[in-house]
Each structure stands twice: as structure tokens, then as C-alpha cells.
């Protein structure tokens, strides 16, 4: 897939295009580009080694790029840039905190690097500690924290500067389900508040839940990009609706098949199966059509194609082979 040009999205918070990075002979990232608007969560989905971390390292100005451009709020960003980086909140994949400092000391240190100080810094630290649920443990050394608490602090440090762009590099790797859910909730809230979020993951469920748009990255190249629906349609997959019903199932199937957007509807034992491009959009019409045939519906189940299927279709391999 060709990269999106930076100039195409003047309103974007982040714009990058033509990113390329090689390590010796190995091409880690090749011609990757995307944009993220305010309040939008963009996911980079791909297995380990796909180039996700290399891409965000170039986006954050951590890694020199061989080719390409990165702009944040319209300003060019690279490894030598200083001021523009103040707009970025970065949450690295590993827990990047000082174990022999307390949570508050960690925050105070990083806050000072963002030119924060005094009451403003104290207020922000207090606010972030509340957000990540560590207010009551703020003055404990972090080497006494559980893995989940360390992860939450890791994210909190990325929020301290109230960033325009929040970059999270696989923040839920190795996290228990409860903490993972809390992290995903936090990201959703932040995006709703208007923050642009760049989220890398190899968990398909996280990308589906959080991301407004997803870029599928494999072997350093962006294979596809778009909304969930756009990606599904890209590979020609359909939604399936399983209706458990009693009555004239053949008539019900015929009525359902006549609904616009429905590709196929067939009767089966105890119900009918409907194949549609976007079953959720057509759901009300399908139910009405079946109901008008006098068939009684007892239950329904929507089976939508997922990004796993898209990834498999695009790359010929499963997303979690290496995850």
C-alpha cells in the first residue's frame, strides 16, 4: 500500500509519510505513512517484529529515519528536535520507571524535563495519580509495586505533560486481564477528551475495541489501512446473522433476502442464517421482514468478520503466530 502524504491531512495532529528504516541489510520499515486527527485513536496492528516499535520510534524522534517525514501539529520532528517533543506523551513497551524512586519522585523527575514545576507540577501529578489509581501509593518506592501498578505508572508518566499526541507501544503486554481492561478504559477516555492516540498492539481485540482506524503492518510495510469496516470490506468478508425462530422458515428467509444489503438468507433447522455486508445496519429491517411473515424470533447472534481474518487474508499468516 502506498503511504499517505503528510500534506493530504493539514488538520492532522500527527502526519508521517514515506518512513523508511534499515538496520544493515535488513529493511525494518519501508514506506510507512499515516495521519491521526485530534480525538482519533489510530492502531498499528501487527505481529512481533512487524516494525511497529521502529515506526513509533521514528514518529517520536527516538530513532533517526533513513527517509520520510514526521510532522506534529504541522511542525517537523526528528531526533534533534526539542520543543515539538513537548506535545508527545510516550508510553514505551517496557516499564520505564526508576525502581528506587517513589511513584511521585518518578513523576516529579519526568515532569521537570517537560519544564513543569511548582504547584502546576504538583497538581498534574495529583491528577494523573488519581487517573491511574495510584494516589494512595504515591510515596512508595516502585520496586515494591505489582506488575499492574508499574504498568499503570508507566502510562501515567506518559500523561504527565498533558500531550496532544499519546503514543502507546503495546501497553498491555504481560498485564493481567483486570489491569488490561483498566488501561483500555483509560485510553478510550483520553481519546474522547480529544487526545490523538497512536496505539500499537498485536492483540486484534484491542485494535477493534479502541481504534477508529487501523494500519495493518507486516514485515515493515503497511499492508492496509482504514476503519474496521473498511478493512473488512477490503477483503470481501461478510457479516453473518444467526436467527433462531419458529414458523415458516422458508418464507422468513425469502423475506430477509429481500432486505437491501442482504446477500443471502437460507433456512436451517430451528432458524435461518443471513449473510450481509453490514448486518448491524440492516438488522432492524431484517427483523421487521421476518416478523411480518409470522415467524417468531427467539434469539439472534451476529457473527462479524474480525481483523484476524483481514490479517490472514492480507499476509497469509495468523496475527498471533509470534504474539
Amino acid at each position: 500500500m502506498s503511504s499517505r502524504a503528510v500534506d493530504d491531512e493539514p488538520a492532522a495532529v500527527l502526519g508521517c509519510g514515506g518512513l523508511r528504516k534499515t538496520f544493515g541489510e535488513r529493511i525494518a520499515v519501508d514506506d510507512v505513512g499515516f495521519t491521526i486527527a485530534a480525538g482519533e485513536t489510530y492502531g498499528l496492528l501487527g505481529p512481533n517484529g512487524a516494525g511497529k516499535t521502529t515506526t513509533i520510534s521514528m514518529v517520536c524522534g527516538l530513532l533517526t529515519r533513513d527517509e520520510g517525514t514526521v510532522t506534529l501539529q504541522g511542525r517537523e520532528l526528528d531526533t534533534g528536535t526539542v520543543d515539538v517533543k513537548a506535545e508527545i506523551g510516550y508510553v514505551p513497551q517496557e516499564v520505564a520507571i526508576y525502581p528506587d524512586l517513589t511513584a511521585r519522585e518518578n513523576m516529579r523527575f519526568f515532569g521537570k524535563l517537560y519544564d513543569l514545576g511548582g504547584r502546576e507540577l504538583d497538581a498534574r501529578i495529583g491528577r494523573v495519580l488519581e487517573t491511574i489509581g495510584l494516589a494512595d501509593r504515591a510515596d512508595e518506592r516502585t520496586d515494591a509495586f505489582s506488575g499492574g501498578m508499574k504498568r499503570r505508572l508507566n502510562i501515567g508518566l506518559g500523561l504527565l505533560n498533558d500531550p496532544t499526541l499519546l503514543v502507546l507501544d503495546e501497553p498491555t503486554v504481560g498485564v493481567d486481564p483486570q489491569s488490561r481492561n483498566a488501561i483500555l478504559d483509560s485510553v478510550e477516555v483520553l481519546a474522547r477528551e480529544g487526545m490523538a492516540v497512536l496505539y500499537t498492539t498485536h492483540y486484534m481485540e484491542e485494535a477493534e475495541r479502541l481504534c477508529d482506524r487501523v494500519g495493518i503492518l507486516d514485515e515493515g510495510t503497511l499492508r492496509a489501512e482504514g476503519t474496521h469496516r473498511e478493512l473488512i470490506s477490503l477483503v470481501g468478508e461478510h457479516d453473518r446473522l444467526h436467527i433462531d425462530a419458529r414458523g415458516d422458515l422458508a418464507a422468513a428467509a425469502t423475506a430477509a433476502a429481500a432486505v437491501p444489503g442482504v446477500e443471502e438468507a437460507v433456512p436451517r433447522d430451528g432458524g435461518i442464517d443471513v449473510l450481509a455486508r453490514d448486518v448491524r445496519a440492516s438488522l432492524a429491517d431484517i427483523v421487521r421482514a421476518v416478523d411480518e411473515t409470522g415467524t417468531g424470533i427467539s434469539s439472534m447472534e451476529v457473527d462479524e468478520p474480525n481483523l484476524e481474518a483481514v490479517f490472514l487474508h492480507l499476509t497469509g499468516k495468523a496475527l498471533r503466530d509470534e504474539g
Binding site: L62, V82, K85, A86, Y90, K112, L157
Partner: protein
């Protein structure tokens, strides 16, 4: 600079919490200096022996014979024959004797005429302390000769020597000239030597955490967080170096004060000591930073720095005095520890700022060269 200081204060806070840092920077050097000065000082008192030669070119003069008699009266001295200064020099070089005292022709006549004379002490390169003892004995003898000369001068030519005048004159500090040659002709007290040695030796361990900290930050993942922050990569490196400098300066200064106070060490001219400490800390930071940049992991960096610190310490004579002559005396200046030991001992002997110009220059050159290379390599480490 403010960002570098923020990083440095964070590192210093962490160092203070890490008690091993205080152990390495203060407790170990102070403790070892105390133990060494106690144990090695005691050994020397109990077991000291020396072999000296008196070269008497003063045919017919009685003063060389008096000095020989003085040595014969000392039970720790063994006397050997030597007929000339060159033979004595050869014996000293071969380690056959520890020192030789040379009386030139006409020495006795010269002293008794009030014109003075010159005694030469030749020391063996590998017997610094024995040579120092010979030097002291010759100095003491020379004091008496000064008294005689003074009495002669006071009485006037041809008058009998007044014994009371001689006794009073003997209380006057020595004025006769002693020339030493061919050996480490001076030494400082045991406690001073080991105070200097341990301070110099452990300085390299005290400051090594600095640039090694860059690797630590990288391994802990915090380096990427630092580099995404709106600060220049140079601030990160500068912060690490700054923390090392502060630890080096504080620990060495405390050691100077503590050894002076507790071990009665005599460091000498304060201005010279301050300058040497500053330059020494700069060199230690430069060397350890350079070594750390050659490593790929924190553990490897620690091992590299330890090797360099121990080898440099041994080479520089931090554990035992190294003769100024010979191979070791030359190659010790390859290490900053060698220059520092030379400078600090020079000050302890009573030297002033001008006497340590070369050691200061040597240490500064090492600091500049290693620091510049380390800085360049560190920038590569943070800018990938």
C-alpha cells in the same frame, strides 16, 4: 544545563539511596588507608634492614670516618665497600646496596675551614624507604657539620673551637647541602601515602556509574522516555557526567578532610590539592566514561571499568610506592593514577603549585582526550 542538572540530581538521589555507593566512595578508601598505614607501618618498624656503602674520596679527612662509625653503630645497617661513586651507583642499580653516601675530596678541610661541602646520597631504585633513611642519616650528620662551620666562623680563623658555641649551633636547622641521586629520594608518611593512594584508587570506582548509567537507562527502558522528552540528547549525557563529577569531587574532598583529621595525613598545599582533585575527577570521569562506551551491557561496563581502575591503580602506584627510575617509573604515567600520585606526593613532600604543573597537565590531557572520545561515543549511544 538545567535539564542536565535535573538528570544529575535524580542520579545523585539514587546514588545516595544505594548504600554501596557510599561504601565505595568513602568507607572503603578510608578504612583501607587506615588498615594499610597501620599494618605496613608496623612491619617496617619491626623488620627494617638496610645495606649502605660509604665512598670516601676525602683522603686523610676524618669526617667520612666519623660518618662510617655512626653507621656501624646502627644494628639495622650492613656496610659494604665501594671505592668510587660510579661503583656505588652500579651496586645500587644492581640492588647490592640500598644506598651509598659519597664524600668528595677535601670534604673535611672544606667544612673545617667554614666553606662547607657536599655529600651525595645515591639510592637504589627499588629501595626507596632504605634510601630515605640513608638520606635522613646524612642530613642529621650534615646538621652537626653546619654547627662546626658556624662555630669556626664565629671564633675567627686560628682560634680554638668553643664547645658551648658548637652545642648552640647544633640546634640551628641544617644548612649543609645534601644531594641525592639515583633513587626515590623522598617519601611521605605511611598514613599520607595510603590516604592518597586509596583516594586515587577508589575515585575511579566512585565516578564510574556516570556514563555506565546511560547503559542502565537503556536496559531499564528509561532512556527512550528521556529522549522523547523535550531535552537535547547532550543534556542526558551531560547529566550523567555531572552526577559523576559531583560524586567524585564530594567523595575525594571528604576523604582529604577525613584522612587529615583521622589518620593525620598531610596532603600539602591546599590550592594544589584542590586543583589536583578537580583535574583528577575530570580524568576519572573521562576514562571511566570512555571505557563504559566500549561495553554493550551494564555488567560488561562495570567489569571493564574495574579492570581499568585496578590496572591503572597498580600501575600508578596507589598501593605501594613506585620508583621514579626504571620501567615502572616510566610507564606509570600512562595512567591518570600515576600522574595523580606523582602530583599529590609532590604536594605532600611540601611542594607548591609550580611543582605540580606537570602532573596537572598530564591529568588534564588524559581528561580532555578520554572525555572528548567518550562524549562522541556516548552521543552515538543515545542517537540511534
Amino acid at each position: 544545563m538545567r535539564d542536565a542538572w535535573t538528570i544529575a540530581t535524580k542520579d545523585l538521589r539514587r546514588r545516595i539511596r544505594d548504600r554501596t555507593a557510599i561504601l565505595v566512595a568513602l568507607v572503603l578508601p578510608l578504612g583501607l588507608a587506615y588498615i594499610f598505614s597501620l599494618t605496613l607501618g608496623d612491619v617496617e618498624t619491626r623488620g627494617f634492614e638496610a645495606t649502605y656503602a660509604v665512598v670516601n674520596r676525602d683522603t686523610g679527612g676524618h669526617l667520612p670516618e666519623e660518618f662510617t662509625a655512626l653507621l656501624e653503630g646502627l644494628d639495622f645497617v650492613t656496610l659494604r665497600e665501594a671505592s668510587s661513586a660510579s661503583e656505588a651507583d652500579s651496586l645500587a642499580s644492581d640492588g647490592e646496596i640500598d644506598a651509598a653516601v659519597v664524600f668528595p675530596e677535601g670534604f673535611t678541610d672544606g667544612v673545617e675551614a667554614g666553606g662547607g661541602g657536599e655529600i651525595t646520597v645515591i639510592g637504589a631504585p627499588e629501595a626507596a624507604i632504605s634510601a630515605l633513611v640513608a638520606d635522613s642519616l646524612a642530613t642529621s650528620f650534615a646538621s652537626n657539620l653546619d654547627a662546626i662551620g658556624l662555630s669556626v666562623a664565629a671564633a675567627g680563623p686560628g682560634s680554638p673551637i668553643d664547645d658551648q658555641l658548637v652545642a648552640r649551633a647544633q640546634a640551628v636547622p641544617p644548612g649543609a647541602e645534601i644531594r641525592s641521586a639515583g633513587a626515590d629520594d623522598r617519601a611521605v608518611s605511611q598514613s599520607t601515602f595510603f590516604a592518597i593512594g586509596m583516594a586515587v584508587f577508589f575515585l575511579f570506582f566512585a565516578v564510574e556509574f556516570g556514563v555506565r548509567g546511560l547503559l542502565e537507562e537503556r536496559e531499564g527502558g528509561t532512556l527512550s522516555r528521556l529522549l522523547v522528552a523535550p531535552i537535547s540528547p547532550s543534556s542526558v549525557i551531560g547529566g550523567k557526567a555531572l552526577a559523576s563529577l559531583v560524586v567524585g569531587l564530594v567523595s575525594t574532598s571528604l576523604l582529604v578532610v577525613a584522612t587529615t583529621w583521622l589518620l593525620d595525613a598531610s596532603w600539602g598545599d591546599p590550592v594544589g590539592v584542590v586543583l589536583l582533585v578537580i583535574c583528577g575527577v575530570l580524568a576519572a570521569v573521562g576514562v571511566t566514561a570512555l571505557v563504559a562506551t566500549l561495553a554493550t551491557t551494564t555488567a560488561q561496563a562495570g567489569a571493564f571499568v574495574s579492570i581499568v581502575a585496578v590496572v591503572g591503580g597498580l600501575l600508578g602506584g596507589t598501593f605501594f610506592p613506585i620508583s621514579q627510575a626504571g620501567f615502572l617509573g616510566t610507564i606509570r604515567f600512562l595512567s591518570p593514577q600515576g600522574w595523580l600520585m606523582e602530583g599529590f606526593q609532590e604536594l605532600a613532600y611540601g611542594g607548591g603549585l609550580w611543582d605540580v604543573v606537570w602532573p596537572l597537565t598530564g591529568v588534564l590531557v588524559i581528561a580532555a582526550v578520554t572525555g572528548a572520545i567518550a562524549w562522541t561515543r556516548s552521543k552515538r549511544l543515545v542517537a540511534r
